[in-house]
Symmetry: C2
Subunit: 294 residues, 2 copies
């Protein structure tokens, strides 16, 4: 198996498992539809891949991290729904389809995001392949990495910075919170599922932060070089809203070079783990971030 095989296998495993986890009805039919519309969308499932890969890197079967992967993809889906809202980034398209609030209206989109954020915890908390103490640790980490001092804090810095201009330190902090926190969380969840050491968890968190930073840079580069058809979402939004990005602050060439440095540093963090096929694949994942086209 190569990285792309495992990524594709993970995506279909996650899709199938989320379909089961989100199948319960009750509550409101329209909310159920709206939640499934955004959570079952055939995304790349990079975060779930990271959870699986780190679990396997630590020598345990990846299935132990499957429900943690579902939980983090639910948190990711929630963040995209709320980011797309008119009061936030006001994006009408997401993955080639109308965004949730275009398809279901704003009120339902807000509630669908809320529901996914809240329901993610029971999904992680009831992971049948892990002990109660592991599941508790997973839920606490999800909370800390997604909440006020994590992803949500990053999103707020992003909003506050529009039209104002951030310096490179402020931008790095923004990206580490908005993107890095959830990447880190995914890697650490894999370690938790495998009962890894604290040193390994820390290495996983560092790996997530660095790959998250590189991922954001290539995202910014794609935002100026790609087409909406290729990306499945609107482009040129950063420049339009005068957002500071690594590309606007450093220029394309230096930004890309910095992404490469982050990736080199991320790879060095894998030294904390023994050698196996997952280590090779995670190294390929690092390279993929630099060359991805969507």
């Amino acid at each position: 198996m190569s990285f792309f095989d495992t990524l594709s296998k993970t995506a279909s495993d996650i899709e199938a498992r989320l379909l089961t986890l989100l199948s319960a009805n009750g509550g409101a039919e329209r909310l159920n539809e709206s939640v499934r519309y955004s959570a079952l969308n055939g995304g790349k499932r990079l975060r779930a891949y990271l959870a699986r890969a780190f679990c396997e890197l630590c020598g345990e079967e990846g299935i132990r991290a499957l429900d943690y992967g579902c939980a983090i993809e639910m948190i990711h889906a929630f963040s995209l729904i709320h980011d797309d809202l008119p009061a936030m980034d006001n994006d009408d398209m997401r993955r080639g389809r109308p965004s949730n609030h275009i398809a279901f209206g704003e009120a339902t989109a807000i509630l669908a995001g809320d529901s996914l954020a809240l329901d993610a915890f029971a999904v992680a908390g009831l992971n049948p392949y892990c002990e109660s103490a592991q599941n508790a640790e997973a839920m606490i980490l999800l909370s800390q990495k997604a909440g006020r001092l994590g992803m949500c804090g990053g999103q707020q810095i992003d909003i506050d910075g529009e039209g104002k201009g951030l310096d490179i330190n402020e931008l790095t902090r923004l990206v580490d919170l908005k993107t890095g926190a959830l990447f880190s969380c995914a890697c650490a969840l894999g370690c938790i599922a495998a009962n890894a050491s604290e040193a390994q968890k820390q290495a996983a968190i560092d790996f997530g932060l660095l790959t998250g930073r590189a991922f954001q840079i290539t995202d910014d580069l794609l935002d100026i070089s790609s087409t909406p058809e290729e990306l499945g979402k609107s482009i040129g939004k950063d420049m339009e809203s005068e957002k500071s990005t690594f590309v606007s602050l450093l220029g394309e060439e230096r930004a890309y070079k910095y992404a490469g440095e982050c990736i080199a540093c991320a790879k060095s963090k894998l030294a904390e783990f023994g050698d196996n096929v997952s280590k090779t694949e995670l190294s390929e994942f690092c390279d993929y971030i630099l060359i991805r086209k969507k």
Copy 2:
């Protein structure tokens, strides 16, 4: 101590504890302010009271349920911020002050709600007075009672029902989810903190559902009989938006009678627990719901 003394003591304990729990900075300053604005607002803290009272009813010190009480008040605060948004109930006032989105803008209000919902889990998960297995159970329950098949589902039914008219069964389902789920959760969290039996947890959940139903009826009655100054929020909204309520479906007299029946049934659920001062106070809490003026 009477119910009112314990309620007032709980409110100040919760306010002080939330001040500590929400004191960490980092992230975005504006988001920190917005979160504290809504979470530290001197509310009645009925849900935290229920967690404390059920913990004491089961013979354990109430402080064991303090952080569970904080977590559920954070979830409650999140739900109020999002309910007040223009796309939802569009309320400009909350507890006698501008609602969060009036004070901080819509984007920050959405993120403040998201942050409170997410951060509540780490607060419950790190409760220092309980074991990891109890904290895991508490987080799972919070997730289930607040999410798609709980409070959020109820809010969606509420939105879908506007201008359409619900029958009494649909309305009961709405109220059980929108209000009862969190009341039930609060009562059960107290039981979890005290390591109560499954039968006691079930009785607590029933108690929460029944008192939640009665609470919603007196809320509807206050909405037509009170003034904005007395309530600290806008009134007459239900009639304006043609929402079905117990009062609109049954008339004031029969609605109030039904609230009394719910309260009588709720009191009977307390038979599952031994006699102590908390049982007397919870009985007073039941009476309070029927006579409250705000």
